[in-house]
Amino acid sequence: MEERRGDGGAGGPDRPLDPREWEESRGGRPGAGAGPRMTAEPERGAEDHEYHWHTGAKREHGAEDAVEFIDVVKAFGRNRVLNGLNLGLPDGQISMILGPSGTGKSVCIKHMVGLLYPDEGDVLVHGQSVPAMADDELFEMRKKFGVLFQDGALFGSMNVFDNVAFPLRQHTDKGEDEIREIVMRRLTEVGLAAAAEKMPNELSGGMRKRAGFARALVLDPGIVLFDEPDSGLDPVRTALLCELIQEVHEENGGAYCVITHDIMSARRVADYIAILWKGRIVESGPARDLFNSDNQFVRQFLSGEAQGPLGME
């Protein structure tokens, strides 16, 4: 493991290298070269070794934030999943939250739609505090969202058509003919028109995910959240899904937020990237800036290399 940390192996610490150690061995400085538009958060416990790579750099994206996390802390028992998270997801752009497994990406999505509440801090959707909403306001606010869950989360008692039609029947006064037209258009887009009458347990994982995608988009929501849309899909379908996300976004606009591990997907569709690790943002900003970041953690993660500050720990 220490060999994998490369240059840090000589010192033999059983911990991630801190930026100074790493950069000294590379002749650089963490977070350097971020450009003049970059702003940094006040340092939070610099002595906290875990967060040496978290420069908290936020690069300007030139848009209003549709969703904001302000100093969010969330713990499950003794496990602090989000630890002072500050993040803004720009409106009108496709954002990606990237990060190693188990770092709190899905927990972020659940906070946005009020399925989880922060222990500390606040989550704002279009400037409104989600934790402060009453149940009725929350259900109303959720109508702004379309969410694609990891496994599609289709209703097992309904066929694919009824699953996709469910939000339309629930929240609109549209007639059955119009609903049929909209649903079939969405199902055609995701390549499931022929499977409209099938039950969810007759579909493969990828098909369930595509059906969930169609359902998430059927109300043309202003904010769409995708929880690992590419997991379980083959590379071609992943590429097609990314293309579809882009097309739908171009057509409808709004804030799209994709959670993924897949760097290729990030390269294809992301306008804005936030890298999450250990419950905080390492860096966030427009995709092209992040892909050129000097932060070694960001560079390692976005290039998918084994060598770097991120080990198996």
Binding site: V113, L115, R142, D151, A153, L154, G156
Partner: protein
């Protein structure tokens, strides 16, 4: 060491109290949701009601006849025959079947067959993130899933209590016939001792058993976590809590009923 021992005692107790508190909150929210318009749960209520009928009628028939015939029927009959008082078996069935055994057997069958089905169903939906998806789609799971189950279980448990009474007393009839005794004295002492208070007390008690079963089943299902194993654990915990809740509530209800209606304690 001391910390670890304290944690071992303190954390489960805290967890238990939190769960009881959560179930109380769920009960309150369910009642409010049931009464506040809109009322979108009609279809689901009918489906759940029919589902419970379909699931429980046969186990309940077998259990009530077997239990009525075996426990209060043959056991008490053996005892009464010693005193030449087998005609009092009908009166004993008021105490045994109407006040206690019919509600108990009904609640146990409903908890074991219907309650577990509800926990497993909601637990599986929770694991598949269906419940999260419902909420995100702006649908209140309490109003749409808990309320219909709560109402259906209350109604069906109350009605099944009447059914259990009938078949429980049928067990007593079989026991009387087993002792070659005439049925006239059985029914005479049964009707002499039975009162409307016994009947409504039995039905109300069982209806409230249904409410306990519904709340616990829904709560355990909707908070299941940890995959398929977690659903199994939720079902197991749910049925244990339901039995404990039923026994504890039965004690409180029976004591209250006897205290407020002392005339039903008089043997005629």
């Amino acid at each position: 060491m001391v910390q670890s021992a304290a944690d071992r005692v303190f954390l489960p107790t805290k967890n238990l109290l939190e769960q009881v508190g959560d179930m109380m909150i769920l009960t309150g929210k369910t009642l409010v949701s049931a009464l506040r318009p809109p009322y979108p749960y009609g279809t689901e209520f009918v489906q759940q009601f029919l589902f419970m009928l379909r699931l429980c009628w046969l186990p309940l028939t077998i259990s009530t006849i077997a239990f009525g015939y075996g426990a209060p029927g043959l056991q008490a009959g053996n005892f009464l025959v010693l005193f030449g008082a087998i005609d009092r078996l009908g009166g004993f069935f008021v105490l045994a079947s109407i006040r206690e055994f019919a509600p108990f057997v009904t609640a146990i069958i409903l908890a074991g067959v219907g309650g577990t089905a509800i926990t497993a169903d909601l637990g599986a939906r929770k694991i598949r993130e269906e419940l999260d998806a419902l909420q995100v789609l702006g649908v209140d799971p309490i109003k749409n899933l808990v309320v219909p189950r709560f109402l259906a279980l209350m109604v069906v448990t109350g009605l099944f209590n009447i059914y259990a009474l009938i078949f429980g007393i049928f067990g007593g009839v079989l026991a009387t016939l087993t002792f070659d005794a005439p049925l006239g004295p059985f029914f005479a002492t049964l009707l002499n001792n039975a009162s409307t208070t016994d009947l409504w007390g039995s039905v109300v008690k069982t209806t409230l058993f249904g409410a306990i079963i519904a709340i616990v089943s829904c709560y355990k299902g909707m908070t299941a976590s940890g995959g398929a194993e977690g659903v199994g654990r939720a079902v197991n915990q749910g049925v244990v809590i339901e039995f404990l809740g039923i026994f504890a509530f039965n004690y409180v209800f029976t004591q209250t009923l006897l205290a407020t209606h002392p005339e039903i304690s008089v043997i005629k």
